[in-house]
Every structure is written in structure tokens, then in C-alpha cells.
Symmetry: D2
Subunit: 371 residues, 4 copies
């Protein structure tokens, strides 16, 4: 039985709590886990969260959580700037680590974290939950098996609109201390999805820009502050496998709440997906009866592993928190088996290298290799 | 802190387990609960389920579960024919009861159960989870507030295809001992949704039929057995509020996995919903700028209570199990406050009366009043 | 070369003009035609229309048009109450006749028209243009060939909203002199489509009602007039082939501009169509790879005859006027070959009998046979 | 009355014939036209086309057509390599000219054609028919009026799949004599649409590539020939107005028949369009009631000029040939009024400059200014 220590009680903290609580019910073969300690800088909030999420104990000291002998697994959901210190301490204490993305605002720091993790032999995972969708596993399997023929193109997007209003105030999210802007926040998801489906990206030419150049210092304030992080990134990509594509990350895409998706084209077929309808995957296969060919709307069902762990019948719909449960279930399973389920720290680092290459490309206005 | 006793370990048993485990994390103001005992006729299965779902104890005796002093709440997920006995025993033992739908194969038995529940003053609820969707609460609120004007029509459907193949074998689901067929199984959901949105149905004229007249006695068997329950029901309805509509229940609707939905029309607007895309609601409002009027695709978000208990941002998608969590959260909340969240036994009974009226109408080929 | 005489210059008159002008370009094998005379009660309007639509002559006398020796084909687009007289005169003059639907407000009159047409041996057609869609020919062919297995259900709808506003004034459309209301106007389209796909309807149980009971006598008038025709019809149907279904006609369906469509289910597959997206047909076929089964969105293309007469490539989209061109092309072709393309007067009469049976059923609250 | 001379009898020739035949019926205020001569190198085909399309005469000499005194307007639908000579001859003969896109395979030749046209004062137009969609006029008007706020991004695509199969043989379409490949054929449409909506493109960084590197010399042939034109183009763009975007042209997009569309985002709203559903435009407007905000699906209707010239009621659907009729109607109207309706030769030339800049960028792997 694995003792869980969770650092952070916000949105992602709650998502982790939901997922750890549901994981064994969904996946009977993984190790049982015990919600041991939850940490928050504010100990009243920590105590309240412990009650609400069902943790045995709470603390305001993440350091003590990390060192606690009853904790086997540390889950980190704090702001990015804290990740490095927490991750390194958890690894030093011999704990398996789940860390929300991105690993760190700095590529150099992420490298340190990856190396520490790999030296330790511990299991790590980073919170790219969207690719845990059973239909994306199907998509990847179809690509791998050659069912779509040679892949000829990829168009990936992660666009939302939470920053579209020039009058929405300056916040931590757009403070450059936390790293680049949308290209790290949303771009990392779609880059990760591209890599999950098609493998490494070798080269990029990007336009990474700040469209909304200043924001009020606070809600309804008259004073404004310059925005120093990007809000739109558009990237031409080459994959190592040889095909090209485009990737866009955008947090000023007015109207879009979760346009994380792609259109992936092969010589013999294609796939279309958007997280806005996460239980659907469109598939086109060339050939067959010309009268009746077209895009098939595949609806998620028990035939798409591990949907059946949640519902015995198709059409019932998985949600965001179920994807998080799959993520945590696979993570706990990986601890037991030693087979990492991914994406691990290494993968997060590779994604971050693409992000950094795109930023460099935009500055130099050149194509940049992803090394 | 409420002790939960769960009878049944199958699909719905697991769904209840997910929901009880998540309820407090989603709804911090409801009573905390303790997963006390789970029951299954097979005590090995019961023990395994206790481990997997996190119950403290297991038993093969539902009777002992019902009487157990550490159990405050009994959740019943067994086949319909057992409901009556279990419900009455639970009520007699002073336990609040959640029972999966339908209450019972027999309207007379259901009446007994309702009366026992109402005499007891205990909180009851029946598993009509789909109406727990935040967007359906919005729909009902818009109807109630008159935002769509006088309602002029309703077209409701619950169609799936799990029985569409004439070669799929005879099973408990189509044994008339369990009650009528699709009209009880799926029809009750869409009748319940209609009532949730528009209030009582006063009158029906129905065609309730058995299209697939025999089935193999077992998988790949040559011998066939006559099917004695209905597989399609089509109903003309009148609502007490004055408007008309149609309702269809169908479990041979080849291709449909979860076509539970409606189109609801008022003089000033209309709504379209399908459970196949449960995070979307289409709204049309008459008036406004003619150049840009049309159906609005509303995406579920925190503005639609209680979506925000699951995710802080729109577009992240609730799933089936989240609806079940809302259901259980409201049920536990109702136990604390004494304000029933519904649908309670009385409501389930009213739904069943519509089912019975439709069956009677189909036999007599007459309009039948729902008394 | 066939001389065309067109009676009526309104919306449908223009649609006929578009269609006759385009027919030969689309269908090189039909007889060439000559736009000979156009008639309108107002001879200034008639002359203007002749110029605009390219007719050689104009007249205010439909009687002279019908008798004109240069006219071989008469197209009638006037209000329903005039159809009988015009049709009988045209037939008496030995002219082939295209008449807009319905044939006549009175079933008895329609019968007279059918009998006169059949005695004459002339070619007749009635304006049920929507079934001229190449994708609906595909649908019918799939049904006929048994590709969907035994048909188990049909749900047909024709809903629009041009009368949804209780303040929109009384008009010819709702004057009972012109016949029943929505059940004739829109209901005949969906009944015709049902018959086109599945053959005769044998029996109906209907609720045909007037929801908006009075309307202003004129725009913005205070005085109101009782509405004596129906605005919603809901019908349970039995087809002669044995399957059941529902049909709805509705002109107060707020938001709907052209919801003419159906869901047609068979034991082995199903079809979904709506005129709102007339270039798409959804097809589900049972069996095949469970991972990738689902509804196929078929897009109209040259493989769907006669789409290729309009565009050499798929995806270019046919429109309403193209369907009208197909209709007229088939009509002119039928005149040359003697093989009626349908729907002819007889078919229109059969459709009208279903309409009348539904009205009778609604009055008696009984199932009524369609004789 | 304008005499029309049409050069070419293929797909586009037929489309022009449909459009000229319908134009006056749709647009009563434009000059009447007379289908005077049609030309094809094969005089039997020309004669047959004259009969089918309703031209008074036919010829195998485009030169005589161009000089014919009864011809006022010349429509050119031949392969691109012939455009220059025909256009210059038509202008020299004082004829207004409609030419299918692109003007010419060579930018230099196009420049000559533009200059000749502008010196002459004649009316010219180029066949970018898709932007004639009434909903795109609405889109442009909303952008111009600032209804979407400052525009922050554009994602444009024109993807089809007619060349996706590596075994489909070499053809004129991929012969470099005719100019570049997909970037000219499809790219020009989406570049034109981008300019129509947002104005000039100032700068591009592009990846223009040939994915399918060889093709059989003929159907089922074993010998293959190298493909020398591009089949996918992906372009980062900057508009002169300041916003960025991406444009993709792709003719190997397996499954796509007419994915010509865009997502256009402004600070206050956004628009989504695809030609696959040309009668729909999605609009999101920020602000308003948060419960019910979302994308509005606008359906084309008479409120969107000039839809009402084709149908009096919404929902009836325009098709490809109707867009062509609008194009020709506006062209003939422009001849009468002297107000060019566009896109004229100058606009086609500006579009071609973007195409050439993208090709140059792809070769140099640098951003390139569009001069």
C-alpha cells in the first residue's frame, strides 16, 4: 500500500485527490494507496483540504511531507517556480514523484530534475493528462500500425480564451518569472500530444508573440503593466519521421474553452480530434465502397481500453477527471511494475526543448533544430 | 459522518462507489461519509469489491448490512426484482435509501415502497442520474423562468442499440419477470427528464411493441425463445401544463449508444440536448439581431452549478461518473438538510405510472389518462 | 423541343424558372425546352417576370397559356385553391403538368385530378423536390437492397418556425379555405419522404392541434382572429412493410428553419438525415472492427447520381435550386421516355390520404386505417 | 444586352453556363445577357456544348470568339497556360473579361495582364467564387465594423484529397509548366479569402513541399515520374493590419473534399467557417449572459444579401453553383455600373504575389516580405 503525499490544494490539487480516490476502483490490479498527507502553506486550508479530500493528515510544511516515512509518492501541484526544489527534495528522500507540467520555468533546471530522477531509479510522471484518453491511445496505435499509411501532415492546436480580454488584469500566469507564456502553458500540451502520436519534432520555425501588450495592474485599475510573456505561438514543425505540420498555442482565442486537438493525415487515412468532444474521434479510411465512405465518428466505449474500467457500456462519456484517474492509475501501476507509463520527466524535458526551440526561432526568425 | 452500505458490486455498484468516494471532495458542505459495508451474494466477490472500492467490511448478507448499526444509508444496485424486499427492510431499519431505477417491476409494489418511505420520514432517492447534469438544471430554470415563452412542444428520445441484433441471446433483461422492457429501462429516463423539465404528463397514446419476436436461448444456440417484453415504445403525450409532445424509448436503435435527449420548443425559444454530448446544450432565442441569430452551443462551465465543483474552467468536460457524484452529493446533502434533492421514491412512482399508462394505451389502442 | 408554360411568378415560380433554365445543362439527354409563356394575374408583373426569367411571352390569362399550342408543359405554382381548375384545363388541353404540392385542399378534388391525369396518359409530377437529393436516392437504394437489414423504425420530422410568433398576423397560409395547416404544408413533405424510403403507411394515430389559437388580423393590429388550422401534428404510424414510427409536422418550432429529416433504423444499420445539411447523410453499419465503428458522415459527390451533373468533385455542395433542377430534369426526361420519374399525381394523392387519416384520427382519438 | 462568349466546355465551362443562365433571374437589375458563342478546340464538342448550355453559336476558334462583334464579355475557363494570350486578345478587342484563377502560371505574365486590363478601363474579374458566399460578406462586414474588436489571429485552410493517393497518376495538374502546385491551386483561394476578410498580407514564412515525390506515368503504369510541384504548403503570415496567422494549402489531405475555411479571432469575438457547410457561420461574441453564451450557428437566410435572390426563406441552402451565379451576377452588374465587384485582375495578382513570396520563403528558409 502506497502512502500519498499531495502538495497543493487548488484546482489541480483537487483533481489529484479525485484521481487517487478513484484509481483503485477503476484499476483493481494497481497497488492500493492511502491518502497520507496534504500540504498547503496555509495550515487552516491544509486541514480543511485533508477533511474534504480524505487525507489522514495535513501540514503547512511541504518539506516535512516529502520526508515523511509514511509517504511513498509525492504529487506536486504548486506554481511552477516551486517545482525544482520540491522535486529534488522528494527524489532525495526516495519518493516517486508526480509533478504538474511544466517541470520548471527554466530548461536548465528541468535538466537537473530529469538527471536527478534518472539517477534515482524512481518513477516519475508529469501531468499531461489529455493523452490518457482511450481514443488517443487508439489514434496512436493506428498510426503505429500503419493503418493510415505514411503520415503526411499534422495540424495541432491548443487554444483557449482565458486571457482574451485586454482588460483582464495582470496575474501570476503572465509573470515572466514563471517562464514563457502560452507556449509553455498550452503549447506543451499540444506538443506533447504531437510527440505522443508521431514521435520527435526535429525542427521548428515559429512566430511567438505578445498580442495584448499591457494589462491593468489589478481588476478595474487604471494603471497598466507591460506583458512580457507570449499569448500566441504559431509554429511550423518537422517531425523526425519526415512529415511536416503546424502547431498553435493561443490563450486569447476568444470563444474557445478547450480547443486542444489535431488533424492528422496519412496517405491512407486521417484522424480528427478535439478535447471539446473528448469522447469522439473522427476517422477517415481511404478505399472501400465509394458510395458510403466518409469520416466515421467513433464514440468511446469499452472496446477502447481503459474506458471499460469506468463504464460497461459505450456512450456514457468519460470526463476530465476520469482522464486524471487514468493518469494516476497508470502512475501507481508503474510504481508496482517498474514499467513507466509516461510521460515521465524525460518526456517533459523533451517537450520543453521544443518550446525553447520555438522561442529561439521566433527571436532569430530562423528555423531552429531541436537538439 | 454517515455510514454507507452498498448492496451490489456490478456496474452500478461500482458507479455508486466512485460517487460516494468523490462526493465530499466535490461538495465540501455535505456530511462526510464512511464506506462501511458492501454486500454481494458471493462473499469472495464482496470481499474483493470491499478492497477495490475502499469499503471497511464486506458481507454476503444484505439483510445484515441493512440492519448494521454502523450503516446509516443503504444504496441498492441489485436486479429490480429484489428492490422491494431490500427497500422495505432498509426503511424498517431506519436507513435512508438510494435505489436504482425502476423501484420495482410492479406498480403496486412501488406504491407500497413509496408509502413506507413517506411514513418513515427517511430520505429516499432513485438513480435518475442524467438529470443531474448542470446544463439540464439550466434548461429547467430557463423553462421555469419563462425565458422560452409558453412551451409548445417536446420531443424526447432515449434510444440505444444493445438489443438490436436478433441473434443476441435471451437474457434477464428481457425476462418479463423483471417488468416491461425498454419502456421501463430507458423510457423511464426520458419520461423522468420530461417531467423534470416540464412537469406532469397527463395523458398518453402509445405504441409499445416487440419488434424482435424471438431470440436464441443462449449465445449461438439454435433454439429460440419468444421475447415477451417490448423493445420499442412510441408515445404521444400531453403535459398537464397544456403542451403536447412525443417520447420514444428504443433499445434496438442500431448505432445509438446513448441517444437520450430532447428538443423542447417554446414560443420564444427552444432547447436541444443529447446525452451523447452531455457538456453541450443548444439554445435558440427568438428576437435580437437577425443577421446573427441562431442556435447557441452552450458549453458547460463553472457558471453552470455545480460544474465548478469538478473543474474551475469551462470546456474540461464532465463525464457520466461525475453526474453520479452530483447525484450522491445531493442525496447526502439532503440527508443533512432534510430538503430532498429528488428524484425520490414518489417521483419514481409517478414516472412508473406514465410507463403503465403507455402500456395500457398500447393494448387498448386508446388515449389513457395518467392518474 | 418542349414549350414551357409557367403559371405564377412568386418564390416557386422563380424556382421553376431557375430549374427549367438549368435542366438541359445538367442533363444533356433530356429534351431541350423553350421558355414559352409565363402567366400572372397582373400583366405588368407577368411581363417583368418574362424578361427576368427569360420567357418569350407573358400573359395575365392562365387559360390562354394552357391552351397555347406552343406550350407542351404546364407548370403550376399558384395558391392551392387554384390547382384543380388549372390542372384539369391543362390536361384537357393535352399538356403535361407539373403542379406544386398539395394537389388541392380537398381530397375529393385531388382524386378527380388524379383520375383525369391517368385517363389522359399525360406525364404529371408534383413538387416534392427534397426527395430528389442524390443522398436520399442512396438511402432508398440501401433500404431496398436490404443493406440495413429489416427496417425497425422511422422517426420523421419537418419542423420550421415561420409561424412560431403568436403576434405574426393571420394570413392566407392559415386560412382553412386553403386546406389544413402544417400537416398539409410540411407534413406532406415528410410523409412523402417516408413513403419514398419505406413504402406505404397503413395506419396512423395522431394528435393534430392548433397551439396558437388566435392571431392579429394584420401586422400590429389589436384585433385578433381565431386560427382554424393546425400548427403541430404528431403522428404514430405503421408502415405496410410492418415497421412503426413517428412523424411530426410543426411550423411553430422556434429556431428551426428547415428541419426536414429522419432517423431510420434497421436491424443491421441506420441512417440519419436532415435537410439543414442536405449534402450529408449519416450511416451506421453494424459489424466490422469494433474499435473503429461509428456513424459515417457521407458527403455528397459524383458517386451519388446525379450530383456529378452539377459538379465533377465532391464537397462542392448542391443547394435547394439544384434539387429543383433535378426535379425538372427528371420530369422533362419522363416526358420523353414515358417512364414517370415521380412523384406523380397518384403519389401526391396517396400522401394526402395519410394527411386526411391523421386528421380523422386526431378528431376521433382512434387509430385510423389509410385506405 | 450583353453578348457572352465562353471559352472552354469542361467543369468550369459548365459552371459558367449555369451561372450566366441564372444570373438575371436572381438579379433583376443587372443587364440582360445573351449566350452568344461557346468555343472548344474540338468543334464537335463545342457544338454539343452550345446546344446543351443554350449558346446561339459555337466555334473551335477562340480567336474568332474574342473578336466577334456580338460578344461583349469573354469568359475564360481553359488551362492556365492559355490565359495570357486569351486575356490579352480579349482586352485588345475591347471585351470585358472573366478569367478563372490563377491568372497565369507566371507572376510576370500576370503583371502584364493586370496592366493591360487597367489601361483598357474594361471590367475584369477572376473566379474566386467562394468569397461570394453571403455569410462571408457578413463575416467581412463584422470585421470591418469592429464587431469582433481588434483582430488577433487567423487560421486559414484549403485542404482536399484529390492527390492523396501516391498511385494516382501524373497529370497536367502536377506539371510544373502550369505553375506551382497546391499553393496556386488551393492556396490562392484561402489567401484570397484571408485578404477579403482582413486585408493585405505583408510577410510570410513558409514550408512548401512535395510529399509524394513520384507518381505513375499513367494509371496502373509501373514507370514513375518525379513530381516537381508542391502538394502541401504551410505558411506563417503577418497581415498589414498587424495580426498574425497561419495558412495551409493541401491537396493530399486524405478524407477532405472541401475543407476551405478559417477560424478568425478578435478581442471581442470570433468566427469559424468551412465550405463543407457553406450555409453556416459560427459566431462567438464575448460578453452577455454567461449562462448562455457560446458559439452561435448562423444559418444563411434572406437576411444575408443576396441569399434572398435565390430563396425567400432561410434554411433552404445555397450550393456551389449559386455562388457562381452571384459571382457572374456581380460581374455583369459591374459592367453596367462601372463599380468593380472584385476580385479583379489586380486582386488576383496580389494573391499571386503572396503565393510567390511563400515559395521564395520556403526556398530560402527565411521570412519574405510581400512587396
Amino acid at each position: 500500500m502506497l502512502g500519498i503525499g499531495l502538495i497543493g490544494t487548488g484546482f489541480m490539487g483537487k483533481a489529484h485527490a479525485f484521481a487517487y480516490r478513484a484509481a483503485l476502483a477503476a484499476f483493481p490490479d494497481i497497488p492500493a494507496s492511502r491518502l497520507e498527507i496534504i500540504a498547503d502553506v496555509d495550515d487552516v486550508i491544509a486541514a480543511k483540504a485533508a477533511h474534504q479530500y480524505g487525507f489522514a493528515r495535513s501540514t503547512s510544511s511541504w518539506q516535512s511531507l516529502v520526508r515523511d516515512p509514511a509517504v511513498d509518492v509525492v504529487s506536486i501541484t504548486t506554481p511552477n517556480t516551486f517545482h525544482r526544489e520540491m522535486v529534488l527534495a522528494a527524489i532525495a528522500a526516495g519518493k516517486h514523484v508526480h509533478c504538474e507540467k511544466p517541470l520548471s520555468p527554466s530548461l536548465a533546471d528541468s535538466k537537473v530534475m530529469v538527471e536527478a530522477a534518472e539517477r534515482s531509479g524512481l518513477v516519475t510522471q508529469v501531468g499531461f493528462n489529455y493523452i490518457k484518453n482511450p481514443l488517443l491511445k487508439l489514434a496512436r496505435d493506428m498510426v503505429s500500425a500503419g493503418e493510415l499509411g505514411d503520415i503526411t501532415g499534422f495540424r495541432g492546436i491548443h487554444a483557449e480564451d482565458y486571457m482574451h480580454d485586454p482588460e483582464s488584469p495582470y496575474s501570476w500566469r503572465i509573470d515572466p518569472v514563471g517562464g514563457p507564456g502560452v507556449i509553455a502553458d498550452l503549447g506543451s500540451h499540444i506538443i506533447g500530444m504531437a510527440r505522443f502520436l508521431l514521435g520527435p519534432i526535429s525542427e521548428v520555425s515559429a512566430d511567438v508573440r505578445t498580442v495584448i501588450k499591457s494589462r491593468p495592474v489589478a481588476k478595474d485599475a487604471k494603471d497598466r503593466k507591460d506583458v512580457l510573456v507570449d499569448d500566441v505561438a504559431r509554429i511550423l514543425v518537422n517531425f523526425s519521421r519526415g512529415c511536416g505540420g503546424t502547431i498553435e498555442a493561443n490563450w486569447i482565442a476568444t470563444g474557445r474553452k478547450m480547443q486542444l486537438g489535431f488533424e492528422l493525415t496519412g496517405e491512407k487515412g486521417s484522424l480528427v480530434f478535439t478535447q471539446e468532444r473528448l469522447n469522439e474521434l473522427l476517422l477517415y479510411k481511404a478505399g472501400g465502397d465509394v458510395r458510403t465512405s466518409g469520416y466515421v465518428r467513433i464514440e468511446a466505449g469499452p472496446q477502447h481500453v481503459p474506458y471499460g474500467q469506468f463504464c460497461v457500456a459505450g456512450g456514457h462519456q468519460l470526463g476530465f477527471n476520469d482522464l486524471k484517474t487514468i493518469e494516476m492509475g497508470e502512475f501507481l501501476g508503474a510504481i508496482a511494475t517498474g514499467n513507466p507509463s509516461g510521460p515521465d520527466f524525460r518526456e517533459a524535458y523533451e517537450i520543453q526543448k521544443v518550446v525553447e526551440a520555438a522561442i529561439a526561432s521566433s527571436k532569430t526568425r530562423q528555423w531552429v533544430q531541436v537538439k
